[in-house]
Symmetry: C2
Subunit: 431 residues, 2 copies
């Protein structure tokens, strides 16, 4: 007789409904593979008018979250509400009641993970979050378990599908940012308010989670420098292409004593595998001290992929429930461990600079002079010929490795030149 695991879901939006679909439609497969029956007992949502394209007969539907909390038969609660509140209160209450929780909520883990993992530890339960990064890609499991023997040296993630879709369309079709964004919105890859995606905030949430796993302690989301893709023009895409690069929004985590974390558009060499990750797809490139370079690729969002990840968490929890098996999460992210971060100023990078200047003699010399003054060495420069119709001409420079602080000071000085337009773009090269 297979053990029955009773599950509740709070938040029957796209993702919650996807989880219900798998539990209802893929049940015999799950039982064959795991020796467990997953019974979806109760689902909670405020809106029961919406058509969800799912037959919930046999499942209790309610608007009251307490129906999950107060039901001693429900051992695992899936939180697919999203956002911080009321999700945070719900997850805390569930953990405090001794329920196992699975969430896809990246903002919740990134911002409140420390408190939630303490809560889980105190009550001897586990909180799982595979779907919070990389959608259907089993990246959390791979980092925690598959690469458990490794100190992680660095992580480079294309972990925002919206931005990657926009950049791919800009790169491959020559679209400008606004047109590519509209297209992403029309295809359902971007929200009406795309700020969190194209501004880099969503990627920073996910980077917080990946870096915390790699470091073994929670990192401070607020301390991560974040730049989005909104300032990129087709000109930049084309210059990058001509230099042999593809611009990707990368979440970067590098260990070198302290942690160097950031999210920014990055010039990735055209022959790097990350450069071939296109459209709305995600990929996480991870280097471990024993395993070397690995990459995990797949859909970073969407109903079915996200639900696939959530159900893998359910299965893992189900294996442990009713046994003395210790939960794996607690020791792997220790809520008490301090993780020191570099400030951005402490790190070095290679830079891409794009400036518009008036078409006068001696300008390049003055700009190069400022860079030299701060010890920044130029590796390539392109200044396009003007045809007399435009007031400003673009100059693009690639630099050798230089400190962020030096670059910051140099740019402040360059901005003072009256012949330079204020919209200077500074990007970083993959390293």
């Amino acid at each position: 007789m297979d053990k029955v695991i009773k599950v509740g879901i709070v938040g029957m939006g796209v993702v919650g409904t996807g989880v219900a679909k798998i539990l209802l439609h893929q049940g015999s497969l799950l039982t064959e593979r795991t020796g467990r029956q997953f019974q979806l007992k109760t689902v909670v949502d405020l809106d029961w008018e919406r058509d969800r394209d799912i037959d919930l007969s046999g499942v209790a539907t309610t608007t009251d979250f307490n129906a999950l909390l107060s039901d001693p038969e429900i051992e695992i609660i899936v939180e697919t509400v999203g956002g911080i509140e009321p999700a945070y209160s719900m997850v805390r209450q569930a953990l405090a009641k001794g329920k196992y929780v699975v969430t896809a909520n990246k903002a919740l883990i990134a911002l409140k993970g420390q408190a939630l993992f303490k809560e889980a530890q105190e009550h001897g339960v586990d909180l799982r979050f595979e779907a919070s990064v990389g959608g259907g890609i089993p990246i959390i499991k791979s980092l925690r378990e598959g690469l458990v023997a490794n100190r992680i040296k660095n992580i480079y993630g294309i972990i925002n599908g919206t931005s990657n879709y926009i950049l791919t369309r800009m790169h491959q079709e020559g679209l400008d940012f606004a047109t590519a964004l509209q297209e992403a919105q029309a295809k359902g890859f971007a929200e009406a308010d795309p700020t969190l995606d194209v501004g880099g905030g969503d990627a920073a949430h996910k980077l917080t989670i990946l870096a915390s796993l790699a470091a073994g302690g929670f990192v401070d989301f607020q301390a991560i420098p974040v730049e989005g893709i909104t300032e990129l023009t087709t000109l930049d895409i084309n210059f990058a292409k001509n230099f042999g690069y593809v611009i990707k929004l990368l979440a970067v985590c590098r260990f070198n004593g302290k942690l160097d974390l950031r999210v920014h558009p990055t010039l990735v060499p055209g022959d790097h595998l990350l450069a071939a990750v296109n459209n709305e797809l995600n990929a996480i490139f991870v280097t471990g001290d024993y395993v070397g370079d690995t990459m995990f690729y797949g859909p970073g969002a969407g109903q079915a992929p996200t639900a696939s990840a959530i159900v893998s968490d359910l299965v893992d929890l189900a294996h442990g429930i009713g046994t003395e098996r210790e939960t794996a999460a607690a020791p792997i992210i220790n809520p008490e461990k301090e993780v020191p971060l570099f400030s951005l100023e402490e790190v070095t990078n290679r830079f891409y600079l794009r400036l518009f200047t008036m078409d006068q003699p001696g300008i390049l010399a003055q700009i190069a002079g400022v860079l030299a003054k701060y010890g920044i060495s130029i590796s390539s420069v392109v200044q396009l010929e003007t045809h007399g119709t435009e007031n400003y001409v673009p100059i693009v420079l690639l630099t050798h490795e230089a400190s962020e602080k030096a670059m910051c000071n140099a740019l402040a000085e360059i901005k003072k030149f009256s012949f330079v337009r204020p919209d200077i773009l500074r990007l970083r090269l993959f390293k």
Copy 2:
């Protein structure tokens, strides 16, 4: 107090030594992450003269495998002997003694997995084999656990590093097969006898394991059609390139009622992510019914990556030891389950044909006529102009989808033409 797990290794070659290095050098990290201390107690090898670049003080070294079998303290045995015997007997004995076993031995799992998993089930222990496919890539864990909610629709693996290195060098540098093979041997990516690698047998072992996991029952290694890369010439690489393809040795697993399994060189579209997997690296592209397309990339061999995978198995087992946790492997590959396979004749493919013919009028018409007779439709053809110095000129054809049986019959007929040289090459296109 952390629980101590005592481990023995049999086979202190490259991989076994790598495992010992991780257990000895990465011990505090493993304990921090897992709450377990892994103590390497005893290592077995016949040769204790060799320098292994490791300090084994504190570890018992012996030539007698019984030292592991008869030691009740040793709970997990790592088998890194390789090959079928004596590894098979050793693993059986270990399982029969109630020991957990971790192996990197793909031939052993592919050929003897069914018997070994029955043995493990009978004795309530577990046999793990993460390192048997894809070296350091956590592909076994990802298939079994990460994608547990999915019926697997297909798997495409670049899972022989030697072949991929050779093909990359042929593609990128224009080397011929023999030169690229010599280079691979000089770099340690190919054995003195490379037959198992370049002939496709090694990839077929690994495909057997991946397909068995995906199907939930053991597939018959002997039934897999296998073609290697030894017949490929630079001409073929270049024709493929001009058509927009890269030739990769792919292990293919497609589900469509029955299982379609094969290993052969394949024309992969140049913009597919698998086409960007170069040198000795491996990648496994997996499509699940919920998750969609995913890919797992990394080093397929080598001391440190393979040891990384073995230690992840050790950690998984250590979590279960001493608890009532059921082993996950047994239900996921059911040794009793029959897995029906397609014969190659039942499947359809697109084909690449390369023939050398005498330079006479009407030849292409006759070849095309035979293909048409068998219902095979041509999608592209290239016949290069001759310059009078060569007796034979190459003709290359790409076909639309056609049955393997029809192609087989057509080729038998084409071979009878006196104007066709016998060395016809037939490749398949990615689908």
